[in-house]
Symmetry: C2
Subunit: 193 residues, 2 copies
Amino acid sequence: MVEKAYITYNQVHKLCQQSAAQILSEVNPNLIIAIGGGGYVPARILRSFLKSPGKPNIPIQAIGLSLYEDLSTSDATEDDNKVEEAGVQVTRTQWLDLSRIERSSLVGKRILIIDEVDDTRTTLEYAVSELKKDIKAHSEKEGGNVEGTSLAVFVLHVSLYSGCFTGNCTANGKFHRIRTRPRKDRYQQILNT
Amino acid sequence: MVEKAYITYNQVHKLCQQSAAQILSEVNPNLIIAIGGGGYVPARILRSFLKSPGKPNIPIQAIGLSLYEDLSTSDATEDDNKVEEAGVQVTRTQWLDLSRIERSSLVGKRILIIDEVDDTRTTLEYAVSELKKDIKAHSEKEGGNVEGTSLAVFVLHVSLYSGCFTGNCTANGKFHRIRTRPRKDRYQQILNT
């Protein structure tokens, strides 16, 4: 039987705090993409830990991807022990607004995608896949160059181990790294699924 | 001298919890707009308390408005007692994505805007003013009708009392209500500034 686990805000805070140094040294993000609604809280907390003294905050763009919420009509007040079930299709409710981003382009961005839970990997795969399409489209406008562009993922909890990311995946999978590397006009993604 | 106050995550959680019933009875929102980055955390928390049994979550759209962050280069690790200073100009880093919203229109939406702190009112005024422009533009496409459209604001903390909203402003100003009412082709905003 699946049991529901509860974590405190302080645990979330500390997970962000503990991962910040690794993220700064390995990713050094200059754009955070928060997957809403779950990614809002860790994105906001992590941003404070990623801020470098004397530098402005790392900008956050929110995207809305829903796997659970549109399909679920359950409520915690009805049955506290009910485990929310994931849907099978991602609904995209909001996407990036690039109007204030330099050249309206993701090229050259070291992107850190943040979500709350990686359960079926469906949402993360969707986000990465769509962002790679955007990066490809933007790079084509700029002559095909994607140098300096990278994608990394931070989630608070991974409940799916079998398809765990390779790369910098930690023991409990809190921090994953996905790189997009230019190889001619293709992207190679270090993602073991 | 201005002193910096610290609040716990549980206090934020409880502020959201305590306001939920009032918000449901007075606003009954069908669209949440989170002002990022500060509004992300209360928006995500409040959404859970606003969820009605048997109904899907209220959708959240994030917008990015910055008054502090782009201008501030201070960091908490440099000086914990330094109070972050507000800027004077709002920078708009992200706006609504209406592609998944019915008729791509805000008309008929009972909108709840959520932010963390209302300090100078500059950000909230900007958000309300821009949203009213959007509502006006959408309603003009639909024959001028704005029936059922409303704007309300929820913030965790108000540090500016002199210009406090009238309406449903509570003693410590945690919850404000702003209505937009159709009066011929104008909007009247119950906002005492």
